[in-house]
């Protein structure tokens, strides 16, 4: 075994343990400067960005191929966020192969002339299945570097690397860590039965979580992303399962009647759920081990679908107490309940925005379901979906910029995403069967 081989093996071993990344360039990003994108603004102006094809260091066929795929992935991942207007490479004034990738060799005028406010360049090196990437984000008007990172890893890690970099980009521009480590749980009939699946924030890497061969519904994440609660007919009736995803243990709530619609209390090992063992569907507070702590609602008729405010001080839920299903908010300290929705005769599925100021829900008007958003003070009602089949089950991304939902716009139910102001509506993933009930996890979910 010669020296080079040993070196490569050591590098491989090292790469397989961790993807290293470091800001090790001479140029440094400007501190602060998170004001490029104001994510609290419901109508975000998309920032024009140019992404230059990565420069290949060795220029081998394999490297060129991987490099092209990776720069395309970077472009798709950033576009997914809805923050950017991607500038077509056909409009570039510089030849991709000749264009500089560091501040010293970039002619920023060539980029500002085509309206680009941001520029990403990359250097790509592939050898023996190990990749090394240098990625830079520039402000083309200020002509300086915002982020510079170098990453090492295996070729299979390129998606992970791109997400790490995109996460940095979003943090730099918004001051928010974004959605890049979040996951989405949902229900799919791919196997012929309704089962719970989990995919990455962008619909990639979908995996079947439950194998009940029964009807399984309503996934709900705990705040730390380690637990999922759901309802399943695995034992013949609608019971509530509380399950540790990684360690595969948990609890079962199988009282007489329905045991449904779980929602974890933010930051706690406790959840709200609707149980009907009393003869009437009421919302209860349960421990993470499935023990009833207390009634949260005491009202004849349907009380269902709890959704917590991010601080856990309020709970939105659906109640039929006024004759039709409407969204109500309960103040947890006082127990006081106020009705939130008054327009229409069917408003259900509340989802509380991560910032805490708005609630998304599904509303039926003229026989069609659409996603609406309303301020928690009852003002600012906006309809986000229009004339595109039925649209239900909204769920906010952890940074509050994207809403996932299910829709029949292309026939059967599938999962779509849109920005929080309703633009850029697109299908999230393609799987056999129907997909419903998307639930976005909070922040970082690491179940490895």
């Amino acid at each position: 075994m010669n020296k080079t081989n040993i070196k490569i093996i050591c590098l491989l071993l090292f790469a397989s343990f961790i993807i290293r990344h470091s800001a090790c360039f001479a140029e440094t990003g400007e501190a602060g400067g998170h004001d490029y994108i104001d994510i609290s603004n419901p109508f975000i102006r998309k920032i024009p960005i140019a992404i230059l094809s990565f420069k290949n260091v060795s220029g081998t066929i394999a490297e060129t191929d991987q490099s092209l795929k990776t720069s395309k992935l970077l472009s798709e991942t950033l576009e997914f966020t809805g923050y950017f207007k991607m500038i077509d490479s056909g409009a570039f004034l510089v030849n991709s192969k000749e264009a500089g990738i560091t501040a010293q060799n970039i002619n920023f005028r060539k980029w500002t002339d085509i309206g680009s406010e941001l520029l990403i360049t990359g250097g790509f090196f592939l050898k023996d299945n190990v990749i090394e990437m240098e990625l830079r984000l520039f402000d083309t008007f200020k002509e300086h570097l915002l982020i510079g990172k170098r990453y090492h890893g295996l070729a299979d890690d390129k998606r992970k690397i791109i997400r790490l970099f995109c996460s940095e980009v979003i943090y730099q521009l918004t001051g928010n860590r974004g959605i890049f480590n979040s996951k989405i749980a949902f229900v799919s009939t791919s196997t012929g039965n309704k089962e719970i699946y989990v995919c990455d924030f962008d619909g990639y890497n979908a995996k079947q979580l439950t194998h009940t061969k029964s009807i399984t519904l309503s996934p709900a994440w705990s705040s730390d992303g380690k637990w999922i609660a759901y309802t399943s007919y695995a034992k013949g009736k609608p019971d509530l399962y509380i399950r540790h995803i990684k360690e595969k243990h948990g609890a079962l709530v199988d009282k007489q009647g329905i045991n449904i619609s779980p929602a974890w209390v933010p930051g706690q090992f406790a959840l709200a759920a609707t149980l009907s063992f009393s003869g009437d569907p009421e919302i209860y507070l349960l421990t993470g081990t499935g023990k009833v702590i207390k009634n949260l609602t005491r009202n004849w008729g349907i009380d269902v679908s709890p959704a917590w405010s991010p601080d856990g001080k309020n709970m939105a839920f659906v109640s039929k107490r006024s004759g039709t299903p409407q969204i109500h908010i309960m103040d947890m300290d006082s127990g006081h309940v106020k009705r939130l929705t008054f327009e229409g005769r069917y408003n259900t599925s509340p989802s509380w925005s991560p910032k805490g100021d708005r609630i998304a829900f599904a509303a039926m008007n003229n026989g069609a379901f659409n996603i609406k958003v309303i301020g928690i003070d009852g003002n600012g009602l906006v309809q986000l979906t229009h004339d595109a089949g039925d649209n239900e089950s909204p769920s906010w991304a952890p940074d509050g910029t994207i809403i996932a939902f299910s829709s029949t716009r292309e026939g059967i139910y599938r999962i779509y995403v849109m920005t929080a102001d309703g633009t850029d509506q697109r299908r999230l993933l393609s799987l056999p069967g129907e997909q419903t009930s998307p639930k976005w996890s909070l922040g970082i979910v690491n179940n490895k």
Partner: protein, 188 residues
């Protein structure tokens, strides 16, 4: 002595002959009596036959009755199992037709005291999955309460909600939805 023998012989041969003659003569001489006797025998025979036939007919009738009864029982059971009650959109209150059907079901349950029943609550596909699970629960509970009010023991009645998960008609139109908003009855 020989004379005695002849007499004996005479008696032996002739008297039966006479007797025979008498008997024949009887027929002719006393026709009424013999006719009556024969008719009586015939009547008795006929009566017996009729009685037998009647008995067979009766047996058959009983059998038939039993069969009809059994058929009726089966029919009643089938009706109990197959006749669903229907609801309006987003409602769990019982329509008059549903109440009539439930009255029949209560009677059947009173007639069949050993039977336990699960009431399934179902919804149409419109609306939220969770809300429909709760609505299906309310529908099954409405039907159960009504049966209890009509004298069925509460311990004989369970409920289960399937929400919108098990439509009986897979269509996506008013007709299908109307069929799917139902309570269905299952014998345990």
């Amino acid at each position: 002595m020989q004379k005695k023998m002849w007499l004996s012989l005479f008696l032996f041969l002739v008297i039966p002959g006479l007797l025979f003659t008498v008997s024949c003569a009887k027929k002719t001489v006393k026709p009424d009596a013999s006719l009556t006797q024969e008719a009586e025998a015939e009547a008795a025979r006929l009566a017996a036959q009729k009685a037998k036939e009647d008995e067979i007919a009766k047996q058959r009738a009983i059998k038939e009755e039993r069969l009809t009864e059994e058929n009726a029982k089966i029919a009643a059971k089938e009706q109990f199992l197959n006749k669903d009650i229907y609801f309006e959109f987003d409602k769990s209150s019982l329509l008059p037709t549903a109440q009539d059907i439930l009255s029949d079901k209560a009677k059947w349950m009173r007639d069949n005291p050993d039977v336990s029943v699960t009431v399934e609550g179902h919804c149409d596909e419109r609306g939220t999955i969770e809300y429909n699970l709760a609505l299906g629960d309310r529908r099954a509970e409405s039907a159960r309460s009504f049966l209890i009010d009509l004298g069925v023991l509460s311990t004989r009645l369970k409920t289960i909600s399937y929400g919108e998960e098990c439509p009986t008609d897979p269509g996506h139109n008013q007709e299908a939805w109307a069929k799917n908003r139902r309570a269905h009855f299952v014998i345990e």
